[in-house]
Subunit: 335 residues, 2 copies
C-alpha cells in the first residue's frame, strides 16, 4: 500500500514527518510511503533508516511548500508544485491510495476539494476527530473544514460520521447528537432547528440535541457541529490539557509531599494518559473527499505522524471512501 | 441592601435557594433578601434561621413558577405571577436593587429584556462568566443570552465586558479577544471579520482573534463569542471536570497505591480545587439590562446561591449597571 506524505507540512517538518514515516514503515510491513518535499532536505533524514524500511520510502520532489500564514485556497491554487498539492495529485491519479499532511487545515481542505475532488452528492467536506470520552470514542465532526454550515452540511457530516463509526471503528448503529445550547427541542438557532428536520426524515440513529457537557461522557458516538464551534472546542481541549499539566507540574515542584504522592500515582496517570493521549490516536480523516486524505496535527512529532499514517492505512484497507460513496448513492441511511 | 431572590428557580429550589439566602445573610450583615416564591413552601425553610438573619429575610408570595421545559419568552410573558417575573419587577420598580435566579437561562434573559428592560443603546444582553485561567480570571461573554449574534452584538459584549473587568474585577485596560478558529486575520467567518471592523474603529484594547486553546492560559481578559459557542464551551468545561473527577475516583478505588498517593496530594488538590471551583465564583451578571440581574447555575446548591448573592451585592455596590450605562452614553471606549 502506497501512501503519500506531505513531508514539508507542519510545525516540525520535514524532520519529524520523515522520522514518522520511518517509524510507520517499521510498524507496518505492507506500507510504502512517498515522501513529497524538497528532496535535498528529505534525503539525509531517511538515508540512515534500516534497509528494510528505506526500500519502502520513495522520494518525490516538490519545489514549493504551503505555509500557515497564506490564505489557504489561494495558496493551493497558485502553488502547483507544492508538496501538499503533489501529494494530493498522487491520490487523485491513483498513484497513491491516500495521503497524510500536518499542514494548515485550510490548505488540506482546499486541496481536498480542488485536487482530490468531492464524493458525488457531498456538498462540503467535514473533518472528524475521534475524541476519547469516559467509556467510548466519540467522533466530533466538523472541527474546521467548513467554518459555517447549512443544515444539509451538518446532516451530511452525520451521514459520514455514521459510516466512519460503523465501518472503521466498528460501532453498531452509532448514535448521532446535534451539538446545541440545550437538549430541549426549543433550544438552538434556525440552523439547528432546520437540521433536525433532516434527521426526522432520515434513518440515522439520531438522539437529538446534545450539550457540551455530554461530550466528555460520550453522550453520542457522533457529535455534529459547525467547523467554527468544533475548532474552538478541540483547541480548548488541547489547551486545557497543556494548562493542567503545567499547573500540576508547578504545584509539584513547589511542594514536597505531592512529589512523594506522585510516585505512587504514576502507574495510574500513565494508564489514563495512554487512554486519552490525542497524539496516539493520530490523524483525522477529511470526510467527503473522493480519496483518503488524513490531517495530522500541525504540531505533530514523529509519533503522531506515524499515528496518522496508521489511521490512513486503516481507512484505506477498510475502504472508507468507497463505503461513504456507495452508501450515499444507495441512500442506505438516508430517506 | 435589598436583593430579590427567585426562590423557586433552579434544580434544587426552593430548599437550596433558601439555604443559600440564609448563608448569604449570615455572611453579609448589610444584606436583606426578598425570597420570592410559594410562601407555604419557603416559610418552613427559613424559620429556623438565627434571629439576626431571619429579620432580614422577607417573604414575597408568587403563585407560579417557570420550569426548564417551557419556551422561555412565552413563559415570562404569560406567567405574570411567576417568582422570576415578580423578582424582576421588584428590580424594575426600584424596590430591590438587584435580583438573583438559578432558573432557566432563557427565562432570565427574556425577563431581563421584557421586565427589567435594556440599557439604552444596548441591542442584546450578554451573559458573562468569569473563568479561572492559569494566571488570571478571564471573562467569557456571551454564554447563552444571545444564541446567534450580529457584529454589533459581539462588539457591545466586548464594551460591557471591558467595563465589568475594569470596574468590578479591577483589571486595568483589559485585553479583549474575539474567539475564532485561528489567530490570523484571514480566519473566521463573515461575522468575525465584520466584528473586527468595529474594534478597529473603537478604543478598546483589542488583541485580535484568539483561539480556544488560549482560554485556559488566560489569553485575554475578555473573550467574546456568540451565545451558542459560549454555552457549548462552558458546559463542556463543567462536563470535563465531572468526567475527570469520576475517572480518577474510579481508578483510585480500583488500585491501592494511588490511594496512598492521594493522601500525600490532598493539600495540593484542595488548593487547586479552591482556585478553580466554579461554584465558589457563583453567579454571572446579565450585562446590558437596566438593573443588576445575576444568573446562578441551574444546579446551584446553597453555597453557589450564596456566591451568586455575593456577586449581585458586589455588582450593585460597585455601580455596575450605572457605569455601563454612563460609559455607553458618553462613548468612553467607543469611537
Amino acid at each position: 500500500m502506497l501512501l503519500a506524505l506531505d513531508a514539508m507540512g507542519g510545525d516540525n517538518a520535514p524532520k519529524e514527518t520523515c522520522a514518522g514515516a520511518v517509524m510507520a514503515c517499521g510498524k507496518f510491513p505492507d506500507l510504502e510511503i512517498a515522501l513529497v518535499g524538497d528532496t535535498e532536505e528529505v534525503k539525509p533524514l531517511v538515508e540512515n533508516a534500516p534497509a528494510s524500511v528505506r526500500t519502502r520510502l520513495h522520494l518525490v520532489h516538490a519545489e514549493e511548500k504551503i505555509t500557515m500564514d497564506e490564505p489557504p485556497a489561494v495558496a493551493v491554487r497558485k502553488k502547483r508544485h507544492s508538496s501538499l498539492r503533489i501529494a494530493m495529485q498522487m491520490v487523485r491519479s491513483g498513484e497513491a491510495v491516500g495521503c497524510v499532511s500536518a499542514g494548515s487545515t485550510g490548505a488540506i481542505v482546499a486541496g481536498g476539494v480542488l485536487v482530490v475532488g468531492r464524493i458525488p452528492g457531498i456538498e462540503r467536506p467535514g473533518l472528524g476527530v475521534p475524541l476519547p470520552a469516559v467509556d467510548r470514542i466519540s467522533m466530533l465532526i466538523d472541527i474546521g473544514a467548513t467554518v459555517r454550515c447549512k443544515p444539509m452540511n451538518l446532516y451530511q457530516f452525520a451521514l459520514m460520521g455514521d459510516v466512519y463509526m460503523r465501518k472503521i471503528i466498528g460501532v453498531e448503529n452509532p448514535s448521532i447528537g446535534l451539538l446545541s445550547n440545550g437538549q430541549e427541542e426549543v433550544k438552538g438557532d434556525e440552523l439547528i432547528i432546520e437540521t433536525r428536520e433532516y434527521f426526522r426524515k432520515g434513518k440515522l440513529n439520531f438522539i437529538g440535541n446534545v450539550e457540551g457537557g455530554g461530550i466528555p461522557f460520550g453522550v453520542a458516538d457522533v457529535v455534529v457541529c459547525e467547523g467554527l464551534t468544533g475548532n474552538i472546542l478541540l483547541k480548548f481541549i488541547e489547551g486545557t490539557g497543556e494548562a493542567l499539566y503545567s499547573l500540576v507540574r508547578d504545584e509539584i515542584n513547589r511542594r514536597f509531599l505531592p512529589k512523594v504522592g506522585m510516585l505512587f500515582m504514576l502507574p495510574m496517570l500513565k494508564d489514563l494518559w495512554t487512554r486519552f493521549n490525542y497524539e496516539e490516536i493520530g490523524g483525522t480523516p477529511l470526510l467527503g473527499v473522493n480519496g483518503a486524505v488524513i490531517k495530522a496535527h500541525g504540531r505533530s512529532r514523529a509519533r503522531a505522524v506515524c499515528g496518522a499514517l496508521g489511521v490512513a492505512r486503516g481507512f484505506v484497507s477498510k475502504k472508507g471512501v468507497e463505503t461513504i460513496a456507495e452508501e450515499l448513492s444507495e441512500g442506505v441511511r438516508t430517506e
